[in-house]
């Protein structure tokens, strides 16, 4: 099970026009459009030869001011094949329409807390998430700290010392 085989199988199943193979320093990294994430993840987990059953993390990246602004990264691992790969999906941030993507909690239960954290840090909405509350930040805060246009030291209105 090496990277070319993964590339072959994915192209065979989904076609190369929706997949984007990026170069990275540590192996295979595949970009998919956000609508297709759920299908690709189901395939990656359930296909008998690939069997990516372990999700290491779900992270968000903010590319402000470039559009599409957000990117959600899924790092996968196959326990049986000892193989890692990365899946990325770019999400646009359109006016009046908060960035959203399907949640993968139904595929890997560990995505629960990772997606909650990404949602509160970036403001990305994960659809069909069973428990979309804030995880690490105080409940009263409305800010999304890991966005590039949020100052490092916060502001008195957004991140006060004490809740008013």
């Amino acid at each position: 099970m090496n990277q070319d085989r993964i590339r072959e199988k994915l192209t065979e199943k989904f076609g190369s026009d929706i997949l984007r193979f990026d170069s990275s320093f540590d192996g295979i990294s595949v970009g998919v459009p956000p609508e297709k994430v759920l299908d690709v993840c189901h395939y990656l987990r359930d296909e008998s030869e690939l069997k990516f059953d372990f999700l290491s993390f779900v992270a968000g990246i903010d590319h402000y001011p470039v559009q599409p602004r957000f990117e959600v990264v899924y790092q996968l691992y196959s326990v049986k094949n000892v193989q890692r790969m990365r899946l990325k999906a770019k999400i646009e941030d359109r006016d009046g329409n908060p960035p959203s993507i399907q949640s993968v909690v139904e595929i890997w239960r560990t995505a629960d807390w990772h997606e909650r954290e990404t949602a509160e840090m970036f403001g990305i909405k994960f659809l069909n998430h069973p428990d979309p509350r804030k995880l690490l930040l105080p409940d009263e805060w409305q800010a999304h700290p890991l966005r590039k246009d949020f100052p490092l030291e916060g502001t008195e209105e957004d991140t006060p010392d004490l809740p008013s």
Binding site: L137, P138, F150, P151, L152, E153, D161, L162, P163
Partner: protein, 169 residues
């Protein structure tokens, strides 16, 4: 043993304030308020290598109702601050605060949206022990300096009342 050796069956003259201060500093019970990494060095100060119990501070209570000294060891994040203030309010007077570690003194290496830049913005701190984390000897030095301060307090004439303050006011 102990104080009986010094009493010598004779009359001793002192003032009440000195006596009260001496009693307070000799049995100051710490509240082990370990928030982050400095808590490990605080634990190291408590155990046998850098023994804190020789200063009468063996009884480290987790409950604030039983404690006199709050050693804020570690980073106070903004989410934790209401809990810190509440615990401080639950301690009975007289009470003292030591800010242990760079994060408690001034926010430390975390100058960002999530960390209180020093708990002295909200609590009246008596002794600052800088370091990241401070060595147990440094914490012992801070505690002994606090004891020296307590001996000089005017505890009867001008009793201390710990009060929460709000930054800037």
């Amino acid at each position: 043993m102990g104080i009986e050796n010094h009493l010598d069956n004779t009359v001793h003259v002192t003032n009440l304030e000195w006596f009260v201060n001496w009693a307070r500093k000799s049995s100051m019970w710490p509240l082990g308020f370990g928030l982050a990494c400095c808590a490990l060095e605080m634990i190291a100060t408590f155990v046998s290598r850098y023994d804190l119990s020789r200063f009468g501070m063996e009884v480290a209570r987790p409950s604030p109702r039983h404690a006199d000294l709050m050693i804020v060891s570690g980073t106070a994040s903004k989410k934790m601050l209401p809990a810190v203030l509440r615990i401080y309010e639950q301690m009975a007077d007289p009470k003292w605060v030591i800010a242990m570690g760079a994060c408690a003194c001034s926010g430390g290496i975390y100058k960002n949206y999530a960390v209180i830049q020093g708990i002295d913005r909200h609590l009246p701190v008596d002794v600052y022990v800088p370091g990241c984390p401070p060595r147990p000897e440094a914490l012992l030095d801070g505690i002994l300096q606090l004891h020296a301060r307590v001996m000089k307090e005017q505890s009867i004439r001008n009793p201390r009342l710990g009060a929460i303050k709000v930054a800037g006011r």
